[in-house]
Amino acid sequence: MFVFSLGLLLWRWSDLSSSYQIKSLFSKESAFLINNLLFFAIFLICLIGILFPIVSELFTGQKVTVGPPFYKSATGPLFALLLLLMGVVPLTMWGATTARSLETIVRKLALIALAAPVIALILGVTRWIALLTIWLIFFAILATLFDTINSIRLRSRIHKETTWKAVNNLVRHNRRRYGGYLIHLGVALMGLGIIGIEMFQTTTQGMVAEGESLNLSGYTFTYEKLTVADTPDGRNVATASILISRDGKELERVYPGSDYYYASQQSVTKPGVRSTLGEDLYIILVDWLEITSEGATFKVFRNPLINWLWIGSAILMLGTLVALWPGREARNATQTIKGDA
């Protein structure tokens, strides 16, 4: 299949060449081309990572594992470049943009976006890679908002429309552009969630007796009790009660547990979760002493900013809907064709 597709591609290579010449490196066309290069490179690197264990076994007879560290180090810089590109693209023009005109606005926005890593540094973030990513994320958000607000103000002034009407008309007349901007915002917010979980996740595991506590990142998790009971539907349900507190102040009581299904002889873990906009706390009941139920092992995760991943995903889906929603012109054209037929 791969060889057939490649053959077709090579056969029609001359037909696929663009009829336009890209004259400036700073034009929107160039940005799209570089964007495609980055996505294609990420795709190829992932493909190499997936296929390498098979190829290695084929040629050397030795199995190898290609785990997350490979993907993180190989694709991380490319994702950072994508974030940078997401910030630059709204500021470029079709055809040609001069380096000087682009530089002025990029410099201004990049300087303003610098406030985000500075605040993060003050709050205690010291890893340079996290600071750089936060800067790129806020640069992309600022550039997208800058271009959108500029367009709204311009339309509002020229057509003498209210802000809301200007927004409505702008989006209706250029769904793909503003849908794309929403997708950019969604991806940038998702980036915050990814930084949180990849760079600042903390975890601990330990066995504690009833009344004892585990500590993680300033939180105290006190194991209160464990109940184990059979249910009429053929399950053995173990539920622990954990009190989460911070600086002596009780925050929430969560109930991590595990359901054992006698029929299938399978266990299902049910984590206890405390979720806020800033971070999530996950508590997993790993094991417990069957006879006395006095001691149990818990694994605790603190996932900072993780909810921004879900908020960003929702915005990304909204952006996709806006971009794909058929406009009035498309509906009219369809109706005309139907009428003529």
Partner: protein
């Protein structure tokens, strides 16, 4: 008989002391689960494919985690422990292939892919096309078409194709 009594008493004392010594040693183990997991998450279960050792639920993996704990207690370094596991169970227990022999391919290919891509992009930008993007789409003297005229043209085309 007297000697036997003493031996029995000594044995009883030993039997009482041994379990409490073991429990005491377990309680006072300086190695925490977190230290073991920090290393275990960088190793993979040799039996279940693609499952990191720190989250693997099998009994074999629990034993391997205990083995890591023992090695840390003996003062082995992180590198020594990883090499020990690689020697015992093969390179597949390492999260990334060790940099030797055929494995170098996976470290060389990603930068090569990006480099080739950059060369292609550099060649495309500035390459003369059939029509220049900067060239006007209409003749200078010709009046540019209004959006309505363009839509009419498209609709005519669509009707023709229908």
């Amino acid at each position: 008989m007297k000697q036997l009594k003493w031996v029995t008493l000594a044995l009883a004392v030993i039997l009482i002391l041994i379990p409490s010594t073991i429990v005491g040693a377990q309680d006072e183990s300086p190695i925490t689960d977190d230290e073991v997991n920090a290393l275990a998450e960088e190793l993979y279960c040799p039996v279940c494919e693609n499952v990191p050792l720190d989250v693997c639920p099998t009994k074999a993996c629990a034993q391997w985690r205990d083995l890591i704990r023992e090695k840390i207690e003996l003062g082995w370094s992180e590198k020594q422990i990883k090499e020990f596991f690689a020697e015992q169970y093969g390179d597949q227990v390492m999260a990334v292939p060790p940099r030797r022999g055929f494995n170098w391919l996976i470290y060389v290919l990603p930068p090569l892919v990006v480099l080739i891509g950059m060369v292609v992009v550099a060649r495309v930008i500035g390459k003369p096309g059939k029509i220049s993007a900067a060239a006007p789409l209409v003749e200078q003297n010709e009046k540019p078409a209004t959006p309505e005229e363009i839509i009419d043209e498209i609709e005519k085309d669509l009707r023709r194709k229908a």
